[in-house]
Symmetry: D2
Subunit: 348 residues, 4 copies
Amino acid sequence: MNFLSDNAYGAWPEILAAVVRCADGTAPSYGADDVTGRVKQRLGLLFERPLEAFPVISGTAANALALATLCPPHGAVLCHAEAHIAVDECGAPEFYTHGAKLIGLEGENGKITPAGLAAALSHLLKGFVHHAQPAVLSLTQSTELGTVYTPAEITALADLAHANGMKVHLDGARFANALATLNTSPAAATWAAGVDVMSFGATKNGALGAEAVVFFDPDDVGDFEYRRKKAGHLISKMRFVSAQLEAYLDGGWLARAAHANALARRLAEGLQSVEGAVLAHPVEANAVFVSLPDGLVRRLKDGGAQFYLWGPPAGGRSLVRLVTSFATPEADVERLVALANSEKMHRG
Amino acid sequence: MNFLSDNAYGAWPEILAAVVRCADGTAPSYGADDVTGRVKQRLGLLFERPLEAFPVISGTAANALALATLCPPHGAVLCHAEAHIAVDECGAPEFYTHGAKLIGLEGENGKITPAGLAAALSHLLKGFVHHAQPAVLSLTQSTELGTVYTPAEITALADLAHANGMKVHLDGARFANALATLNTSPAAATWAAGVDVMSFGATKNGALGAEAVVFFDPDDVGDFEYRRKKAGHLISKMRFVSAQLEAYLDGGWLARAAHANALARRLAEGLQSVEGAVLAHPVEANAVFVSLPDGLVRRLKDGGAQFYLWGPPAGGRSLVRLVTSFATPEADVERLVALANSEKMHRG
Amino acid sequence: MNFLSDNAYGAWPEILAAVVRCADGTAPSYGADDVTGRVKQRLGLLFERPLEAFPVISGTAANALALATLCPPHGAVLCHAEAHIAVDECGAPEFYTHGAKLIGLEGENGKITPAGLAAALSHLLKGFVHHAQPAVLSLTQSTELGTVYTPAEITALADLAHANGMKVHLDGARFANALATLNTSPAAATWAAGVDVMSFGATKNGALGAEAVVFFDPDDVGDFEYRRKKAGHLISKMRFVSAQLEAYLDGGWLARAAHANALARRLAEGLQSVEGAVLAHPVEANAVFVSLPDGLVRRLKDGGAQFYLWGPPAGGRSLVRLVTSFATPEADVERLVALANSEKMHRG
Amino acid sequence: MNFLSDNAYGAWPEILAAVVRCADGTAPSYGADDVTGRVKQRLGLLFERPLEAFPVISGTAANALALATLCPPHGAVLCHAEAHIAVDECGAPEFYTHGAKLIGLEGENGKITPAGLAAALSHLLKGFVHHAQPAVLSLTQSTELGTVYTPAEITALADLAHANGMKVHLDGARFANALATLNTSPAAATWAAGVDVMSFGATKNGALGAEAVVFFDPDDVGDFEYRRKKAGHLISKMRFVSAQLEAYLDGGWLARAAHANALARRLAEGLQSVEGAVLAHPVEANAVFVSLPDGLVRRLKDGGAQFYLWGPPAGGRSLVRLVTSFATPEADVERLVALANSEKMHRG
């Protein structure tokens, strides 16, 4: 019963097969190969516009490289206070941007609001050399807390960012999960809503290690390719990363994310009947955040469930994160739900 | 009526004379001169212990170099959310530390509390490679909001920091103002309370441009001297900076800070009787933060008073910062007070 | 006829199979998995000593992370003027070390000599704050020019480096090719000869993208793990990189490198009889550097041979690099040799 | 007899007086003051064109900030192998540029030649992501070895640099000494010859610590002001630095440099008659490089002369550097010459 993270699971057979397929013969190195070219075309079709796309092997690399391309060293990246880039990348964006500042904004359910963004901007004087200059708004989709921005919400935030001369970055490590929920086109959920650059994730939804940095406006690419090289992220046999992305795009990525989402909803539903369990956030993607009594946490762990506490326990309760994936067995979900409800039954 | 900043004022005659005095003949370059050596001795006497001290020419340089020496690139510096290093140095600490993370803590009147520090630490898992690792607690004394930590308050914070393997840095750009208020020894206000390294400021209190980075434990110096050189802050004719510090230490630095503090208290007192004026923070050093109706703000400006708004106006009121210095004319203070009270008189 | 680079070729079937094998079920993320643990053990057995080993996905990442761990920002890395780290990584070491200096040393056949190293060190004053401080000697094995250091040569250089307080790094992107030539134990070729840290390459010899940074002394690891994370090189599904390394170590890596070396020797032999062809360096690994008349270069390219010119043509001649790999078809080698010799035959 | 460096000497009385003069009253901080504005105008008149100029307090800061503004992290700065930026700034340019590469070119008498520059450029492939991209040519005037580029020499180099898309930087720490020798206008020696940005030095020729970064094309300024702030080099009481520059420009800076140059020529002349003394480079500014037998070196030191060895002694001889300044007493020069010639007299 592994609910630690979607990255605890492996990879699709179709992705593995694609990697194996391109292992024969020779190919140009460092991304000049045919597969890499096709992935870019494929993403252009998916997003219904010309774009630039660059494969990398980790979400942190995708985010940090994208942000460094958009944000000068004296710039600021505004993001949610609980964003992955702010909390879980050990300062990768600060390293890659050469010391830009990440400014974390509060906001319910992991989502930034226009009012929160406006308030933060009102304290950063434009052109005032002592203040880090707002350069990028980074949104996470689905959010770190398992919620999803609607296109309208993104548009409102992106309009405000653009009006202040900022670019909009989308951390799409779980973009598939968000899109499966939104039921809109990839275009509508991204550039049409104001996103300039995104980290298009495939790893958490079933690749070995493959993400793409997608620039919806080729003018934004700037020196990205030099940055990627200088960081050791331009790998020589790039076709093996690109092949994953190609197979991912061809292989029902949205359906698999929808599966994970459905399991999360089932989990949430099943836990709602548990005494003392309180859902912390709406369950809109593949993660459930639920506050549980510490006794129940212990019992679930003893019963074989693996998951993370989200922050330190307090007042006899813990906030628990349960993540489902493309490959989480439905039986595991049912087992966890049963385990959580068992005390009630015993008592009954 | 210049209340913009203490750095709007010039320099003491004694400091200028000291600079002129050491302009003849030759001296070893890059800090190997006698004056620089004497300044270190002088600071050792002042703080009643052996120490290492390095002159630099700006507070931002002092802070950023000190922090970079103590905090690895994967580390975090915890400070007040309104600290100078967090807000007004355009990311200098992030640049100098090569991308460490500054984590801003809330706290009334510009002061961090042990509870606030403990809460922040509870979210940064020790040894967890995804989290920036808490490395330094940076306190500002006097604070950015014109208040002063007592030695006991510093001790409580420093003990918590040390217990978590962190070093304690003091941004003492206005240390003189704090000490003049505390009426304790420099030792009691710093290392005896748990401060490991401080930026000892002289510029705001009357030097041309002279600060010293003081390491109370020589083992903490590490590669500071290389960092200073690499940053272009090891100036060739260092004696001219050191001479300022020597004259500063010899020349009644505390009395002059006390003068600035007294003027600030007089300002606060004089403004309290003004209708609609609300002091925002206790006035414990040389700055007054007062919320004023926008009409009054306009009237003061029209009357020739210069000062900064602290954040954007809201609800017809503005938070105003008034700073006094070693050289602020007492008459200016009285004029401002009279100006602020004049409407009341008109009405009367 | 692809002689552009050994990274133009794909991957061993055994390595692909190993990746496929570990795709099922769940595993701890970020390198806490069993496969990663076994790789470390396996490398310890190979090198006959306890060590620390960390998988990464590119040679540039391995080199830059290793160097940054050993070399402070104010340090210098001494290497051959034509080393990959100096010429072909777009300044990755400078980025990762936060601005350390790479000092390129001349030396015949891509090899540094003790005299050259001593001369360079004599110009870098120890403890002199204006000079970058020598921190690391980086050797490439096999070298960028297809030659191989003997253990005795490494020992002489490493002794000099250690005597000057420096660490010794080995860029082993083609370590397999060097070892296949040396016919000594991995231990004798590395730590026993004075190497402290190495980039153990597998990619060029048949992995998808897998290298290991090996610390022979665990005390040297320092903050490596934080650096890897901060750079986005700690990938979530690390087992897929580690599985490649495990299969590599189990699967005749030396025999495959020996095959590549034999093809290079055959190429060199076959080109020696060509009029106007002059071998530039001894052929000791899997690369042939040969000076050819530009007419012959054209003819080879027209005949379908792919290879790089090594520097700009001059005086009607070009220096050509031909690289063989674990998978280069023997027939390609014979075809190239025949093509190069064909003019002679026409003339005859 | 101090011939260690021109920075061993103090400051002109006129410069000290100017600093004292602007210590009264208040002034806008951070360079918004009148004096700083006048210095920019004054430099514009001197160089006969509109320009942007920013005071800083050290030559290393001026160089590193200028280079970082012109050279991206993936760029290369080409300079002489013995340039101050390459050898004596502990990697400041690498730090400020966030890891750009300095490429040192050989060239007689400390001067780069067009052929040497062209050769270096031929090895750095344009647009090739693996190679640092040539971005800046940095020339030192007068050079590190006491020689001077003619405007024609600068033009030839600058034309080549511009044709390759590079900018041209001039390290003018001793620009006064060069100009005093050249007897051309400042314009002719700089922008008219192709210089884009210069570090205009005053410290070595008699300021306390004052240099100006001069951009001859305002479009090149880019984010310079943010970089200066972020580095702690935007000092609050900037007027005290600017006042030095104003007094310097008003006070016979060229005549004082000419004095230093004349003393250097006298030294060279006086040493030429010494047995075993061999001038290493033409004496065109205020430094003499002379190879002396070690016995003579010892005798000079015993006699009270202070100077640096330039590199380690070899073969019983040492290369010695003797620097003269605006304030070097003529008597010291004669004393050194007499001391050096005394053995001859003894023998006679």
